[in-house]
């Protein structure tokens, strides 16, 4: 099979992996090497689905001995299979990088033969790319659960980020849909990665030249909408992952159903739900919210019509309005419509004078939502009663139109299968890409 054919199959098979960020590590160029890394992340292009492409995202192979029900690569599915050699991956990475198509490599894999063998293939590829091709750009790899820890560790020393996918939000769902995987087998390598990352950080502080283990940290992703867990369950799990495993990111992937498998739903991918989960995730990571503040009861779901910060504000109206000229940063960040950039600008500008609504507009603070929740020098923007029902209506009107536009929810129904999976009519095309 020629390189073009392989690339088509193995990139189509990797496309559902959502993490495509290259951020988190700054590394200058080095003499005789190709590449550098930029902590803020660089998008190189945007695919037709609007997602940022920054890494050459491919599977080592899509030949799989496992049988995860939500995945196109599962053993029992009939579809074209292919495998790259380490050299082919190195050539593609280097040649794409030299043309500035990509920021680096995101290498994942189905489980070929067994977990350790697969991990070894990934490790061999990284060795070639880093040592022989002298590639100094960004590399993200998947750790294959169940693989020999020495191999994961060795590969982690050559990668910028390592991730293990948590796959589904509960153990029960995992048992039902991914019979070859267990919660244990996923959490174990996560824990091991965490320890290695912490240890390496400490060593680097002591000896600058100590080897760096996954300097951009670890991330994970889970499928939402394939199984019945509530949003509360999902964001609580997320919160725990951030806390216990010091993850850098948790990614969500709306399940794309095209299966008649009775174990899986047949609705369209829940894009709006995925969007709301990312917003809630943002509140956890940057705005100092806890999962319990965002949703109260175990089976609560996020409100599709309002972003989670607005919802929280409506449930806590006693904390509003907030005076722009005196509120601290933490409080400002809890105002709907005020993000960290706006908050910083407000803090800077008010040092040299009291702010009015006019000033806020000039600073580029968007008042569409914020105006209901703030005062400037004690004055509200307009007369409005602080009645949650009225506010909710006001906030929904504008918001929901925006969300629809952004997500194109009402576009024509998309065709079911793409070329890579067309051979499996009625099969599940949710290629989850590596473990």
């Amino acid at each position: 099979m020629d390189l073009m054919e392989k690339l088509k199959i193995l990139s189509a098979a990797a496309k559902y992996d959502v993490a495509c960020t290259s951020s988190g590590v700054n590394r200058g160029g080095a003499r005789g090497s190709l590449g550098s890394a930029s902590a803020c992340g660089i998008c190189h292009t945007f695919a037709a689905d609007g997602r940022c492409v920054s890494l050459l995202k491919i599977l080592m192979t899509n030949v799989c001995v496992y049988d995860c029900q939500y995945c196109a690569n599962r053993r029992s599915n009939d579809l074209p299979r292919a495998s790259f050699t380490p050299r082919e991956i190195a050539e593609l990475t280097i040649n794409f990088y030299k043309r500035n198509y990509i920021e680096g490599l995101f290498l994942s894999s189905a489980v070929i033969r067994d977990a350790s063998y697969t991990m070894e293939q990934i490790y061999e590829t990284l060795k070639l790319v880093r040592h022989v091709y002298r590639f100094n750009g960004y590399i993200h790899i998947k750790a294959i659960p169940g693989a020999d820890e020495c191999l994961i560790r060795a590969a982690g020393l050559l990668a910028d980020r390592v991730s293990v996918n948590i796959e589904l939000p509960s153990e029960e769902s995992l048992n039902r849909l991914a019979p070859d995987k267990t919660r244990e087998s996923i959490l174990k390598p996560m824990n091991m990665l965490k320890n290695n990352i912490i240890q390496s950080r400490e060593e680097v502080m002591l000896f600058h030249s100590a080897p760096r283990f996954a300097p951009a940290g670890q991330s994970t992703q889970m499928i939402v909408g394939a199984t019945p867990e509530s949003d509360k369950k999902i964001i609580t799990l997320t919160e725990n992952l951030y806390k216990r495993y010091s993850l850098k990111r948790v990614f969500y992937s709306a399940y794309t159903p095209v299966s008649d498998n009775p174990l899986l739903p047949a609705a369209k991918p829940p894009l709006l739900r995925e969007h709301r989960l990312y917003q809630a995730d943002w509140l956890l990571r940057f705005y100092g919210f806890s999962a319990d503040e965002i949703l109260k009861n175990a089976d609560d779901n996020l409100n599709p019509n309002l972003d989670p910060k607005c919802c929280w504000a409506l449930n806590n109206l006693n904390m509003f309005p907030v005076e722009i000229n005196t509120a601290n940063k933490r409080t400002l960040l809890r105002v709907p419509g005020i993000g960290s950039r706006s908050a910083d600008r407000i803090l800077a500008a008010r040092r040299v004078g009291l702010l009015t609504f006019e000033n806020l507009k000039k600073l580029g603070v968007v008042l569409k939502r914020a105006r209901y929740f703030i005062t400037c020098r004690g004055k509200m923007y307009e007369k409005i009663s602080m009645d949650p029902a009225i506010l909710e209506m006001k906030l929904t009107e504008s918001k929901i139109r925006e969300a629809y536009k952004q997500l194109s929810l009402f576009d024509e129904p998309a065709p079911l299968a793409d070329s890579g999976n067309a051979a499996a009519p009625g099969g599940i095309i949710y290629a989850y890409g590596h473990i």
Binding site: I42, K268, R351, D411, S419
Partner: protein, 248 residues
């Protein structure tokens, strides 16, 4: 109303500032001489660029205002806005009064404008660090063309010097007829003709084809969102971007 006219260079601009304090001419406006149209109600002076004065002023900005103000001046200079020098001038004059907190005076229209232009320049440069596409030529030099709104070439050259350290490259700003050329060691920015000869290497077409195939395969068809794609990668960049062209 007092207007300074100068050559539009960084040295020139800093010499205008120097003249404010040493010739006691507190200019209200500053323009590049190409774009300045004489106005009857305004006195104007031509201020020649003087590298020695420029160094002194840059130093003073660093010490008496802040390093942030220094870099704001450098980036703002690259913006495509003919009023930029006036705003930079007022910004620095205010800075000498207030010191480092000048950046908090966002109610001041000139401070706001400088910040806005700097953000615009940096944003466009950041986009181009991703969107810029190189082609391998017969001679082994990698060639890229861009046509940004702002003069982002100096920022791009710094970026790619780090990134593509072991390969010679040229980045050609076709909108300004300027190019940054890197020889594996250092780069120079010079004017060039617009019909440069950049014949492709033998492998070039093959890798472009592979890239286009990857680009098509990676989109999830169930989530097509061309509107979003259009917003994120504006049309004006596309004529230089391999995956949005049929051939190169």
């Amino acid at each position: 109303m007092l207007t300074a006219i100068f050559d539009g260079s960084l040295d020139g601009f800093l010499s205008v500032i120097y003249s404010c304090y040493y010739d006691k001419r507190l200019y209200d406006y500053a323009y590049e001489d190409d774009v300045y149209q004489r106005q009857l109600d305004s006195d104007y002076f031509y201020v020649p660029a003087d590298p020695a004065r420029s160094v002194k002023v840059m130093d003073a900005i660093g010490k008496r205002v802040s390093q942030g103000a220094q870099s704001n001046v450098c980036y703002c200079l690259l913006a495509a806005d003919r009023e930029r020098f006036t705003s930079m001038l007022r910004y620095i004059r205010l800075g000498f009064k207030t010191g480092a907190p000048v950046d908090n005076y966002q109610q001041d229209p000139h401070v706001l404008k400088v910040h806005k232009l700097v953000r615009y320049v940096l944003h466009e440069a950041h986009l181009l660090t991703g969107f810029c596409r190189f082609k391998e030529t017969k001679s082994g030099v990698y060639y890229a063309s861009v046509s940004p709104v702002n003069n982002t070439l100096p920022i791009l050259a710094e970026h790619f010097r780090e990134r593509l350290m072991n390969q010679p490259w040229v980045i050609h700003d076709t909108a300004r007829g300027m190019a940054a050329a890197y020889d594996g060691d250092d780069y120079r920015i010079e004017p060039v003709k617009n019909n440069v000869n950049a014949e492709r290497s033998e492998d070039e077409a093959f890798f472009q084809e592979l890239w286009r195939a990857f680009f098509d395969a990676i989109a999830v068809k169930e989530r097509l969102n061309k509107n979003l794609q259009r917003n994120l990668i504006p049309k004006r960049f596309r004529k230089h971007i391999t995956e949005f062209r049929n051939e190169d």
